[in-house]
């Protein structure tokens, strides 16, 4: 150990990883510990932090806005994740059945919405989802359906946000499509010769073979959904008039955290909110590692060793 440390090669190794170590302490670990400490205080940037114990966490448990924000965020996540992954998987399976250049062209088209900045997506859907004159409701009207007030009826705002989120299924489709292309074709052919139906082949061959990718997109989409901010903030927050009319129907967890920190300067309370979010996401990640290790075969790990 001591010999290794004094070798010039080792010293150079530390030079190379030094930026990461500094960044880790300065922008990751340091802030995490700081926010844990701040979460036990009352701090408004002006007077020094005042220690208040678990008060912030107690307040959270009774804050109707926190409860509303958690409810909205979970509702969105529970709808968005299965719907978007289901649709993306459907598209990927079809993409995988056609050959040649067409698949590449469609893949590009499916990804285009994901290149639209979130603020622009929010703006676009404010127009498209407009209850009186928006394109979505004009389309529904073609079939004699009277569409809801997606952007102003508190009962429909979250549904509108889910609809908007489904526009961005391009990257999930591409990940699943790439996984499908790695499924050895011989397996499927052998099963077909043995008389397996399409569904049996999907269930027993395709699904297990793309399990890793599927699992990954579920986790990543869930974590991203729990942190939804940009599009919804663009549509319903920031401007007092919009904020008042939308009430809390579109209040997401990170939006509330952002308001507490940077509009009301409740830095301690915002830190408590942040830590609860962190714990929830950490638990999901642990479950991912536990379940993932059991279910999924990772090719990369075999190769990189």
């Amino acid at each position: 150990m001591k010999a290794a440390l004094s070798r010039p090669e080792t010293r150079w190794a530390y030079v190379f990883v030094l930026p990461w170590v500094v960044g880790l302490l300065l922008f990751q670990l340091g802030p995490m510990i700081a926010s844990l400490v701040l979460s036990f205080t009352d701090y408004d940037l002006i007077s020094p932090p005042r220690f208040t114990g678990l008060d912030n966490y107690a307040t959270m448990a009774q804050d109707p806005k926190v409860i509303r924000a958690i409810g909205n965020t979970l509702f969105y996540t529970v709808l968005h994740v299965p719907l978007s992954i289901g649709l993306a998987l459907g598209l990927a399976l079809i993409l995988n059945r056609i050959t040649g250049r067409a698949a590449g062209v469609f893949r590009t088209i499916f990804y285009l919405p994901s290149m639209t900045p979130h603020v622009a997506v929010g703006v676009l859907f404010l127009f498209l989802l407009n209850g009186q004159v928006g394109m979505v409701n004009q389309f529904l009207a073609l079939f004699g359906v009277q569409g809801p007030q997606w952007t102003s009826d508190p009962d429909w705002m979250l549904a509108g946000i889910v609809l908007m989120s489904l526009w961005n299924l391009g990257s999930t489709t591409i990940i699943l499509f790439a996984a499908l292309r790695n499924v050895p074709r011989e397996l499927s052919e052998a099963a077909m010769i043995d008389g397996a139906s399409t569904w049996q082949r999907f269930r027993s061959i395709t699904l297990p073979m793309i399990g890793g990718a599927l699992f990954f997109v579920v986790i990543v989409n869930t974590i991203a959904s729990l942190q939804m901010f940009d599009q919804v903030y663009t549509m319903y927050f920031g401007n007092t008039q919009a904020q008042n009319s939308s009430g809390d129907a579109a209040l997401f967890y990170v939006i509330y955290l952002f308001q507490q920190a940077f509009q009301y300067l409740h830095m301690g309370y915002a830190s408590a909110l942040a830590w609860v979010l962190f714990l929830v996401i950490a638990i999901i990640t642990v479950i991912q590692v536990k379940v993932g290790n059991r279910l999924v075969y990772y090719e990369a790990e075999e190769r990189s060793r």
Binding site: E9, T10, A13, V15, F16, P19, W20, G23, Q28, P31, M32, S35, L38, L91, R97, I98, T99, A102, I109, Y111, P113, S114, M115, P117, H118, V119, A120, G122, V123, L124, F127, N130, Q138, N168, G170, S171, I174, I175, A178, A179, R181, R185, S188, A213, V220, I223, Q227, F229, Y233, T234, A242, F262, M267, W275, F278, G292, Y298, E299, A300, S304
Partner: protein
């Protein structure tokens, strides 16, 4: 933790593609389904561009007519007068390129350290790279703000890119995987010829990992172009805004505010989006490969 399926994300999977050419009716059916899906995904763009070229009182009229009628391209003149779009575009480009260059180079530097050297603590440090990959940004929001506040850099664009100088977990991981694919004798041969470790990094590792570097660069450019939260927190002066922050201000004034000018909002949205779409078409190969091989979400 990750679905990196090929160590060097250089090539498309060369696996034979299932082929339904033998059954033309089924192929046509699939093509129709994909075409309908494409139309649904593309049409909002068509509507956006078309509506941005119409007079205000016609914004919502004829939503299924793909071209603007009546045609009013003057909206694109009004938008430059109503908001400093050009300044915001330049700001976005500068911040984006600086942020992307910083994160690409620093991540490659660190990745080389992890890929080439064996040293005490490597396993633990690399675990810290993996561990922070899923760390939600919201957790560090407040303390990070306090750091920039304490050094007096709030109100400047520095917080938008400076943290990128220390590498980013995801790109470090990507580049390390890539560098592990480089045969070790390539480096050893250069060492025998007297190359320093910095030479190994600069003259061998960097040029060899070009595809992975481009993937990191384009993804970070895109991430920076998308970023709304940091500009909201750190920028007060509209002259320093990036496009997303500027577009948010335009929406607040001309859509939600008491001064409805939808055509301005729509034209500003197009200006915010189009350059990125252009960048996407230039770097398409890298975007699609990056997503496919690493599972990075867009």
């Amino acid at each position: 933790m990750t679905t990196l399926q090929q160590a060097p994300p250089a090539a498309e999977p060369a696996a034979p593609v299932p082929d339904d050419a033998g059954r033309p009716t089924r192929r046509i059916f699939f093509l129709i389904v994909l075409a309908v899906a494409s139309a649904i995904l593309i049409y909002p763009f068509v509507w956006l561009v078309s509506a941005s070229l119409k007079p205000r009182d016609r914004t919502f009229s004829d939503p299924f007519l793909p071209w603007p009628s009546p045609f009013q391209p003057e909206n694109y003149i009004s938008v430059w007068d109503a908001a400093p779009m050009l300044t915001w575009l330049v700001n976005t480009l500068i911040v984006g390129v600086v942020a992307a260059l910083a994160v690409t180079l620093s991540s490659a530097f660190v990745a080389f350290g992890f890929a080439y050297f064996r040293f005490p603590g490597r396993g633990l440090l690399f675990a810290s790279v993996l561990g922070t990959m899923m760390l939600p940004g919201a957790v560090t929001l407040v303390p990070t703000y306090l750091i920039w506040n304490s050094v007096g850099l709030t109100g400047t664009q520095v917080p938008l890119w400076a943290a990128n100088l220390f590498g980013s977990a995801f790109y470090i991981f990507l580049l390390r995987q890539f560098l592990l694919g480089v045969p070790r004798y390539v480096f050893e041969a250069a060492r025998v010829d007297g190359a320093s470790y910095l030479d190994l990094f600069w003259r061998i590792a960097l040029p060899l990992s070009r595809p992975a570097l481009i993937i990191a660069f384009v993804f970070e450019l895109k991430a920076s172009w998308f970023d709304l939260m940091k500009p909201l927190i750190y920028l007060q002066d509209p002259a320093l805004y990036t496009l997303p922050r500027g577009l948010k201000a335009v929406v607040d004034q001309f859509y939600q505010g008491g001064d409805p000018k939808w055509e301005i909002v729509l034209a500003a949205s197009v200006i915010t989006t189009l350059p990125l779409i252009a960048i996407f078409f230039l770097g398409q190969r890298y975007f699609l490969q990056g997503i496919a091989t690493t599972g990075q979400r867009g």
